[in-house]
């Protein structure tokens, strides 16, 4: 378990010292982390929730690492996306690929610099994510969240250029102030309960105005970091201006970190405070995100901004988990549904950003209006974009469909009609913005397609592989649901009987 943190941390440090070997170190990490996650999966299946006491101290004084179904799912998603992005980045950063051909060539050492900086920060980001998912107390979660934010901001800044740098700076400011809100909340919780350990907090069942304030502060900080509508304002510029592999990491993984903490906080530490007003409130924000994000995506002129707004919309679905998981009946369905969506969105969105990166590279721009006929020069990227779109729209058998199906069923079982409508409308809006891009792919052009830059194969195959994974993920949903049951919070187990009659 500790290996999941130590391996990427060590290689990150090594990569700082010997930047030349960044790629090789990333592969070592990928292998070690992959093996560790597989091992954990076996342990979890056979023995249930696993706890590791760092240094043998144990909570409350020491630091505990803990893995349950939810954490393992997040670790798996992280490993999968991490490996795919690493593969893509081997070629993306290896040459002057992120230059438009109309611009003066970048000096060779600048590009090399970028390559040298990417790998350690990438590995550091991986460390932070793994540490976050393994943490079992809310203060540790703060530290890991902060580390995650640093790594993410630095990666955005890696693109250089005024737009990316200011986006990174704004991202950093927002992220830091949100973290401070969260930390203040942690302090209040500690003052009230005398502990920051998640299991001990769950055992206390405290309530009172101070705790409500604490939860309010923490939630406010977290939804800002998770870019939940209306706190999403920082996301589109940051995600759209970063280099392609970074955008993929940010949209697929980084924003899921705070969401994960939010789940831990509400479902595990304070399930008793999850009143209908709270959950419906989250649902309303989620619905707002779905509608607003999709409509904004429809209005964007640039491909990467469209994809970024689509992330805003898709994050909204995750928050529908709260209203659908807190009532009696269908809680388990909503729980695995939303997390299924999380995994599917990670794959699909990473594929989309990587495909968008290819398009940007080959055509030299990403104005949607100017993309006519790109399917001819970039058939695989167009395909990847389309397949990823299927999952975002929620068409079967994609992981997106499986997730929506479960949420839909939970909503119908509980008679919460309004969410049903939101789920369906959200799917249609997603179809509209995906189709908007694909229409250009099919536009007929006279003459031969001009391929200005040949793309390395790996950059074509990685997004396609991720998109295929997203589409086929639906078939894994049964297994994922069973995995998620390991150590699932009580609310999510409420209706297991109903799920499998």
């Amino acid at each position: 378990m500790a290996l999941l943190i130590l391996a990427p941390l060590t290689t990150a440090a090594l990569a700082v010292v010997i930047p030349r070997r960044g790629r090789g170190l990333a592969f070592v990490t990928a292998v070690v982390v992959g093996a560790a996650v597989t091992g954990l999966f076996r342990e979890l299946r056979d023995h249930g929730v696993r706890i590791h006491q760092v240094g043998g101290w144990g909570a409350p004084l020491g630091i505990d690492l803990r893995v349950d179904g939810l954490a393992l799912l997040m670790l798996c998603v992280t490993a999968g996306i991490g490996i795919a992005v690493a593969l893509y980045a081997t070629r993306y950063f290896a040459s002057n690929l992120n230059l438009g051909q109309n611009r003066p060539q970048e000096p060779k050492d600048e590009a090399t610099h970028r390559d040298y900086y990417f790998w350690p920060i990438f590995l550091f980001l991986w460390t932070a994510l793994n540490a976050l998912f393994l943490s079992a107390d809310i203060f540790n979660l703060y530290v890991t969240l902060e580390l995650l934010g640093f790594a993410a901001v630095t990666l955005v800044a890696l693109a250089g250029g005024p737009a990316a740098l200011s986006a990174a700076l704004r991202y950093l400011t927002v992220s830091l102030s949100a973290s401070l809100f969260y930390l203040l909340g942690v302090g209040l919780v500690f003052g009230q309960c005398g502990t920051v350990d998640l299991p001990s907090l769950a055992a206390q069942r405290e309530s009172g105005p101070a705790l409500w304030v604490a939860l309010g502060l923490m939630t406010g900080g977290l939804i800002t970091k998770a870019a939940l509508f209306p706190m999403h304002f920082w996301l589109p510029p940051a995600h759209a201006n970063a280099p392609a592999p970074v955008s993929a990491l940010l949209s697929a993984l980084v924003v899921k970190g705070p969401f994960y903490i939010l789940l831990r906080l509400w479902f595990e530490a304070f399930p008793t405070l999850l009143t209908p007003a709270v959950t419906q409130g989250f649902g309303v924000l989620g619905a707002g995100a779905i509608l607003w994000g999709s409509i904004q995506a429809l209005r964007q002129q640039r491909l990467k901004l469209l994809v970024a707004y689509s992330t805003v919309a898709q994050l909204g679905y995750l928050f529908l988990l709260l209203p659908l998981c807190s009532n009696s009946g269908g809680g388990g369905m909503a729980w695995s549904g939303a997390l299924m969506l999380l995994g599917a969105h990670a794959c699909a969105k990473a594929a989309m950003f990587l495909a968008a990166g290819n398009i940007l590279h080959v055509t030299g721009h990403d104005r949607i209006q100017g993309l006519d006929g790109f399917a001819r020069s970039l058939p695989m990227s167009a395909f990847a974009f389309g397949l990823a779109g299927l999952s975002l729209v929620g068409l079967p058998p994609s992981g997106g469909f499986a997730g929506k199906w479960l949420l839909l069923n939970a909503a119908l079982t509980q008679g919460q009609w309004w969410w049903v409508a939101i789920l369906l409308i959200g799917g249609l809006l997603a179809a509209a913005y995906v189709a908007r891009v694909l229409t250009h792919a099919f536009t007929h052009l006279d003459g031969e397609a001009t391929v200005r830059h040949a793309l390395p194969r790996i950059m074509e195959w990685t997004p396609l592989g991720l998109a295929l994974l997203a589409v086929l993920l639906g078939f894994a949903s049964d297994g994922a649901a069973r995995l998620l049951e390991v150590g699932a919070p009580a609310l999510a187990q409420a209706a297991k009987g109903r799920m499998e009659p």
Partner: protein, 498 residues
């Protein structure tokens, strides 16, 4: 997983693998692509023949895979599936041959044939689905794989038509998803079964089931082009001729109609459905569509548009047959599923040939084509006569059973509708035939240098001739074993039990 289950998988994969392989072929690899296409189509034909023979002898086929929590991905072959899968496979074979000839020199052929194969995979998947979720999966796959075919030409018109197509079908898909999910939340996983699976719920959830039925009909009705939902069909005519043939005869509208058959017979069951009073409105909608489509067809000068409205009208025959509460009418409706497919595909092949060889797109340009292209025009004529309900051809058989059924159940209005529609069919087809055979070719035909050309290459002539012969076969030998009618009677027996 038994050998029998593998047959089902083989039927799906014979076109799926072909499709995926074709995507990776280079544009110039004409020969390899053609062989792959025909190999896939031929293999599928053989497997379906094996399935047909096996089912006839009482062998059951089924296959399940793990899918959603609590729901399997299930394939099966009951008599309904076999009917539809046979139809689509046979017609696909000829359409493939036709498409290979038709798209000889156009760009993006690999893309076209890739999606073409996926489209048929989806159609056979729809036929072989054994539960609602599997059905939904293939139904959406069909939408997604036909869109690139509709917009294939990449012109402004094509893209516009494609947008409308996608809008209609995805909205329909969303309603269908809602219906499936809702029914699932009431009844648990819904596997298709003769006479329905929800009888026990009918008493307690009457209103819900009625609403769900309406949602089902709206969702499926988009593809089946029932009255207020038919708008996409004429717009989608911008697609190349083989695609129109596919949309109208084999895949899309048929999938919608087949879905309605499934929901009425194998989810609700005719008895439960009529108890819920939901069949009468459906019959009325179908009746209205029949008349509306025929009238609109009368006023179209563009040949393909006229055929499109004719499809709108004819597909509702199937729906009408299903919605009228009488075994005889269901026989008529179901057999029309096959017969309409045979006739309409012949007509579209013909229309494609006129456009390809002589550049003719409008009815008013068709003077004298019969002499120029005797084989194509003969096939076209047989298809048109069949549509009008001329005796000894396929259309007459379906209409006969539909009328008998409507009389039996006391729906005299439906008899009237069928008669009126028959007259209207004649009214919009006879002028075409008259021009084709009896008017001298006065104007020079639009295509330059077409004065000497007659029939297009054999790959474009053989398919319509074969399907036209099948129209005659289905009409003349309707009472023989292995005719569509004989098989449909088997289906009806299973549903009604006599």
């Amino acid at each position: 997983m038994s050998v029998h289950g593998l047959v089902l998988l083989g039927i799906l994969f014979s076109s799926f693998v072909t499709g995926v392989a074709i995507f990776f072929l280079k544009e110039e690899n004409h020969r390899t692509r053609t062989w792959l296409n025909l190999l896939g189509a031929g293999l599928k034909l053989i497997l379906v023949a094996a399935l047909l023979w096996g089912t006839y002898r009482g062998q059951t086929y089924s296959l399940t895979l793990e899918f959603l929590p609590g729901i399997d991905f299930a394939l099966g072959a009951d008599s309904n599936s076999v009917l539809f899968v046979t139809l689509s496979t046979v017609l696909w074979f000829w359409t493939t041959l036709y498409a290979v000839g038709y798209l000889e020199h156009s760009p993006n052929r690999s893309r076209f044939f890739g999606f073409f194969s996926l489209c048929v995979t989806a159609t056979t998947g729809i036929a072989l689905s054994a539960n609602l979720v599997t059905f939904l999966t293939f139904f959406e796959l069909l939408t997604v794989s036909t869109y690139p075919l509709v917009v294939h030409r990449g012109t402004k018109d094509a893209l516009g038509g494609g947008r409308i197509y996608l809008g209609y079908t995805l909205a329909g898909g969303a309603l269908l998803l809602l219906a499936v999910a809702w029914l699932h939340s009431l009844a648990g996983p819904v596997a298709f079964k003769a006479r329905g699976v929800i009888q026990s719920l009918a008493a307690g959830h009457r209103v819900e089931l009625q609403v769900i039925f309406v949602l089902f009909m709206l969702g499926l009705g988009v593809k089946a082009a029932i009255l207020p939902l038919h708008g996409w069909l004429p717009k989608a005519m911008v697609a190349p001729a083989p695609v129109s043939a596919l949309l109208h005869a084999v895949a899309v509208v048929k999938a919608g109609a087949f879905g309605i058959v499934r929901v009425v017979y194998d989810v609700y069951g005719v008895e439960t459905a009529s108890e819920l009073n939901v069949l009468q409105p459906l019959a009325l909608a179908a009746g209205a569509t029949i008349v509306y489509g025929s009238i609109r067809a009368l006023f179209q000068d563009e040949l393909k548009k006229r055929l499109a409205y004719s499809t709108v009208s004819q597909v509702s025959y199937i729906v009408l047959g299903v919605a009228i509460l009488s075994p005889v009418a269901s026989i008529g409706g179901l057999v029309h599923l096959v017969h309409q497919g045979l006739m309409k595909i012949t007509l579209f092949f013909g229309a494609g040939n006129y456009a390809e060889a002589l550049g003719i797109h409008k009815v008013s340009e068709m003077n004298g084509v019969g002499r120029r292209m005797p084989l194509t025009t003969s096939a076209f004529t047989i298809g048109a006569l069949g549509m009008m309900g001329t005796p000894f051809l396929a259309g007459a058989v379906s209409k006969h059973y539909l009328k008998l059924g409507a009389e039996e159940s006391g729906d005299t209005w439906a008899v009237w509708i069928l008669t009126v529609s028959g007259l209207l069919n004649a009214a919009y087809f006879i002028p075409i035939l008259w021009r084709a055979w009896f008017k001298p070719p006065s104007d020079p035909h639009p295509a330059p240098g077409s004065a000497k050309r007659t029939e297009p290459p054999w790959a474009l002539v053989v398919p319509p001739v074969v399907t036209a012969l099948m129209v005659i076969w289905a009409g003349l030998f309707a009472e023989q074993p292995f005719s569509p009618l004989a098989w449909v009677k088997l289906v009806a027996q299973r549903e009604f039990g006599h």
